[in-house]
Amino acid sequence: MEVKYAMVIDSAKCFNCKACVIACQLANGVPIGLYRNWIKRATEGNGAKVHFQPGNCMHCDNPTCVQACPTSATYKDKKDGTVKVNAKLCINCGSCIPACPYGARFRHPEKKVVDKCNFCEERRARGESVACVAVCPTKARTFGNILDPQSDAARLLKSNKTVKVINQTTDTKPNIDYISETAPMNWPVEPKAPTPIRLWQNIADPLVKGLVGLTGLGIFVMLGKQLLIKDEPPASGHEQGKEDAHEQHSD
């Protein structure tokens, strides 16, 4: 069976206890002050009405972070639909960080790689459930394979109207669905690869190709000339004579 992991969140159930944030930090060795997940807050009418919105990496189907990585150290795993970081290939350049509209990525100060939510891959491999989901006292978060109609996540998706939180410029096709409605909605930023990566794509790549191409063309012309034209050095006239004379003289 095909697998696509996703999360369905009923943000109306969240009361900002932050158990998910702390459970995630403990489960995944996230240093204090850094986070793989979050709870956003929206207020209406002088804070009279407050809404909390839990979230984490949305494992997008159009992952702008993957598009910003030069080596595919971060990639979309086709086997389970999650966006992963290959720690052994990642050189911690951080190009993917501003390319995520949700700010879901950070440089891990101890591991020296870019870190983010992986839906608790290691815990799931041990047969445990995703930490933030397991700890949530109101069951606001539901994780599962949405291609399996029997999963809780797929059932919730089927029986509810859901919304996605998307940035204004690029639909990254996130895989967190919020039941009925949620707030805040306008916080994701424009995903943008850093300047060196954009310069590479727009200027350096055509420049280097052009330079190598022109050089190749020059060599092609030289080779063609060499094969097609019989090109003798000028009739060894006066210069050659001079050399010989010089030789005889010095001997």
């Binding site: 030069p70 150290a73 951080g94 100060p109 590479w200 000339k225």
Partner: protein
Amino acid sequence: MSSTVIKRHTKISIFIHWFNAVCWFFLLATGLGLIKNEKLDPIGGWWPDLMRGLFGSGEILLLAHVICGLIWVVVFLVYGILRAKKDVIPFMREIFSYSPSNDLLWLIKKPIQMTMGYKMLEKLGFEPRIPDQGFYNVGQKLLAIPTVFGGVVIAATGIIMYASKFFIIDKMVVQWSILIHFVAVGAVFAGLLIHIFMGSIASGELPALISMFTGTVPEDYAKHHHKLWYDQVEGEKHL
């Protein structure tokens, strides 16, 4: 004409040349394989896929690239230190010495001759003889300068990128290193294409290729391609 030969390269120079060539070939192939991003890969995704398949995975490819790169840097450092006086300083002095009038004329005439022949030189009103050159011709010297500095830049940016796996380096420094590494390799590679053509395929240059194994060139070759160097060697002989 005589069949005497003149010594042109020491055994150490020959070693470092072919060591550099093998490293360049390996580092270029593996480095191109590391760029797996359809917006950035210069020759398409088939190459990174092929290289990763050959090496087993991206991380093994990275490791192979880094190990070869570090060997390249260390060998050149040791060579540079041990042979500073004998090779490096004279080489640097040579590639920065020019005789403007002679060399400028060479730079105009040689490309015309290489692409269109001596007859075109005559048609354009030039005296068809190519100006005499020293141990290196001016084309070689002008390629050598960006190659040497490009090599230093490539090594430095490569070290920064790998060091980023072990130390926290400002991410802008790492990102710029990636870009500069790519551009420097591209520029030096363009020069390398000319070097390979001129040093092996170009007519009359076969003795140069052979000399990179034997260390010697025929007297004729030296006289015709590096006249000023030949005169100097001959002059020293008679001192």
